[in-house]
Amino acid sequence: MQQLSLKSIIYDARMRGYFYQVFILSCLSFGFWWLIDNTVTNLADRGKTVGFGFLSENAGFQISATLGTWLFDYNVGQSSYLDVYFIGIANTFLVAILGIAGATIIGFTVGIMRLSKNFIVRSFATVYIELLRNIPLLLQLFFWYFAVLRALPSKRDKIEIIPDVAAMNITGLYLPAPIIEPGFIYSVTAFVVAIIITLVMKSWAQKRQFETGQRFPVLWTALGLIFGLTMLTFWITGNPMSWSYPEFKMTGAILRRGFQSGSGMVLVPEMLAVWLALTLYTAAFIAEIVRAGILAVAKGQTEAAYSIGMRPGMTLRLIIIPQALRVIIPPLTSQYLNLTKNSSLAVAIAYPELVSIFAGTALNQVGKEIEMIFMMMMVYLTFSLATAAFMNWFNARVKLVER
């Protein structure tokens, strides 16, 4: 009798599943315990302690002026290692987000170019894709950095892009910087409110169209709402923002000539090069994904669209792209994640991102490998998971359209 019940337990797939799972979990816990135990022993042997106290210590090194140093107001000798950490994160995110935006635009363009009927356009796209995706990114990073440096005039010279507003030289791209005064928050609030109203209005208009067939000019109303409401609030609160324009001087001490620090904002060439390299490299992969996605839409779809009188532009926008997106989005997500992670290569060309200043310079000063590498990995993991979650959500939405 007992034999039989034991037997029935063994042959029960569920019970067996439990057994395997408990077994795996205990092996894993033991493994982790072993690793942690080893680490503790090893650290004790080497006379090192674990702790995050170092984060409040002052960092004694200069960081090149970037978005991060501006956001966190970096001052040597006053800012802490925690500030360095945040500066690294800000700089990594900046280049990742700009890169994602750029790579998506160029990638989609090149992907569509690859399918062009024009031989020149098509082969250019092919050469672009094959060349860029088959050469390691690190090499391309060097190439673009020195190409950018070589193309730009010296520190005491400039190329005007928009006179007195935007200009470039070897020390960077100079743009006006916003100076935010108290009260600006109201305009931001108005902007957010306008967007929320727009979203509500859009769903209302859609519902109405389905029910009555009447269309509502959502786009124009929305534009009017977003701009109008924001500008109105901005004006009522007394224009609480002004611009600081880059100042270029050719008098005084020779090293002081050129663009004056503290006026306008600067995008350093290192950032431009990292951005360029990441964008162009990832765009090559995205282009291939886009091409595959478009090819995956059956030709009959295009023909059917034409036969009901749709124009090519409309067909692309309403028929092909929505269907292609289903195929495109999962690999696109991977490319976005790759781009973010690849930004860590920027350390090679002096862009002060997370790996460079926190896991590099700062780690070298305080020597807390475990804590600092852990903190760094957390940033990348969080970003990856967030991107993946967002893209999964988006993917689910796109999928719903299919019905």
Binding site: Y11, N42, I120, P136, P330, L337, K341, E369, M376, S384
Partner: protein, 461 residues
């Protein structure tokens, strides 16, 4: 007067040549270039045509400009030889103390020739290079054989390439003779044999019905132990070759070793992870998901940094892995996670009916996977697999960050050599390395496209 009209033809109408816009060179040119830029019938079309004209001209200009720049740098202006052994002075301008005109900008190839051996094989002893050549030759013959269509014994060669060849290459490259006690190996083999026989007995039902269920595992573990120890034994044999430690490997050799090991090892690992992620056991699926997302979420640089400098912190004092092996494990786990996602894509594409059919036939889980699902899933995702390989191949450049001289690392260390220091030193060697990488990656991507076409053809039946 009316002339009689003939309504009936007495001979065939002559075959007219196709219109100029449809055939021949002009037709091709028309269809592929001019058709899209010569429609001026409406304003919109005219704007589009004009845009196409300008855009095409811009692209042609860009292409010619860049290509000329490259050819000028790499060929026309380049210094090709250094007969007098001047080293850096051969590539110096007058301003720097050399003989080239000021403002000269070209490749310094003698530098690359001098660093050639180092870039390819690192500090590997010169008199032992034949071992690398031999493994490379055997490897490429085997690879071509296994990948070419219509060659006899393709499958067998492929299996040999995955089993015997790594062993052969390992022995050739390191010289074998690794320290391992033969008694230990013997004991392990006996243990393995014992496990197998216990498994056999169990399977036959001699040790109780319950045990019979688990007997299979004993056999697998037993065979695994034996295979492993036979390999250890062979590697430990003395082949009378000078030992060359992995510290003396470098350059392209490292790139190939890391990439190939990563490629070969990441596939099975990736398959297991992908199956695990789709498992119905929540613990297994969660663990596999965490593993995959963790490795996909962190940059390879940090993985390598951890593997190379922090691993000793995690292991008991005194246990020390070979530096290259550590980087290899890092690369392997990293690419396995990527591979797992590719394979998962393939698994998802398999129709549910296939699983149900297999279950209806009474196949077990592993049988279903091995015989029904995986063969279909893997063929679906061959392009994805090859793309992961290409990514992995390029990613090997990152091992230079942890002090292993791969191709790029060797190049960078060559750049540091003051005997050759010139402003074009770095560009020259990077160009050279870029070309080598391009050749390998482009080759792989062509193969992927070839496979893609072949598969889509076979699917059309």
């Amino acid at each position: 007067m009316t002339t009689p009209r003939k309504y009936v033809r007495t001979e065939d109408a002559p075959l007219l040549p196709p219109p100029a816009t449809e055939a021949g060179i002009t037709g091709w040119l028309w269809q592929n270039i001019f058709a899209s830029m010569s429609d001026f019938q409406s304003l919109g079309a005219a704007i589009r045509s004009l845009f196409m004209i300008l855009f095409s001209l811009l692209l042609v200009y860009l292409f010619i400009d860049q290509t000329y720049g490259l050819i000028d740098f790499a060929i026309l202006s380049a210094v090709w030889s250094d007969p007098e052994g001047l080293k850096r002075e051969a590539c110096w301008t007058v301003q720097q103390g050399g003989s080239l005109p000021d403002g000269w900008h070209g490749a310094c190839w003698p530098f690359v020739w001098a660093k050639q051996k180092f870039a390819w094989f690192g500090p590997y002893p010169s008199e032992e290079l034949w071992r690398i050549y031999l493994s490379l030759i055997v490897g490429s013959i085997g690879l071509v054989w296994a990948l070419r269509e219509r060659l006899p014994y393709r499958r067998q060669v492929g299996v040999l390439m995955l089993t015997l060849y790594p062993l052969l290459a390992f022995i050739l490259l390191t010289g074998g003779n690794s320290d391992a006690s033969f008694t230990g190996i013997g004991v392990w083999i006996i243990v393995g044999l014992a496990l197998i026989s216990v498994g056999r007995m169990g399977a036959a039902g001699h040790l109780g019905t319950i045990f019979a269920e688990f007997a299979g595992i004993f056999g697998i573990v037993g065979w695994g132990i034996i295979a492993l120890n036979v390999v250890r034994g062979i590697v430990a044999l003395d082949f009378n070759l000078t030992p060359v430690g992995t510290g003396d490997w470098g350059g392209l050799l490292i790139t190939l070793v890391v990439a190939l090991t990563g490629i070969v090892a990441s596939l099975p690992l990736g398959i297991i992870l992908a199956l695990g992620r789709r498992s119905e056991m929540p613990v297994v699926s969660v663990l596999c998901t965490i593993f995959i997302e963790f490795w996909r979420g962190v940059p390879l640089i940090t993985v390598l940094f951890m593997a190379s400098v922090m691993l000793p912190l995690f292991l008991p004092a005194g246990v020390n892995f070979d530096n290259l092996l550590r980087a290899l494990i890092g690369v392997m786990l990293f690419s396995a996670a990527y591979m797992a996602e590719v394979v998962r894509g393939g698994l998802q594409a398999i129709d549910k009916g296939q699983y149900e059919g297999a279950q209806a036939m009474g196949l077990s889980y592993w049988q279903t996977m091995r015989l029904i699902v995986l063969p279909q899933a893997l063929t679906h995702v061959i392009p994805g697999i090859v793309n992961t390989f290409i990514g992995l191949f390029k990613d090997t450049t990152l091992v230079s960050i942890v002090g292993i001289f791969d191709l790029l690392g060797a190049g960078q260390s060559a750049v540091a050599d003051a005997a050759w220091s010139t402003p074009v030193q770095a560009i020259t060697i990077y160009l050279y390395i870029g070309i080598i990488f391009f050749i390998f990656c482009f080759g792989m991507s062509r193969y992927s496209i070839f496979m893609e076409n072949k598969l889509s053809k076979s699917r059309r039946h």
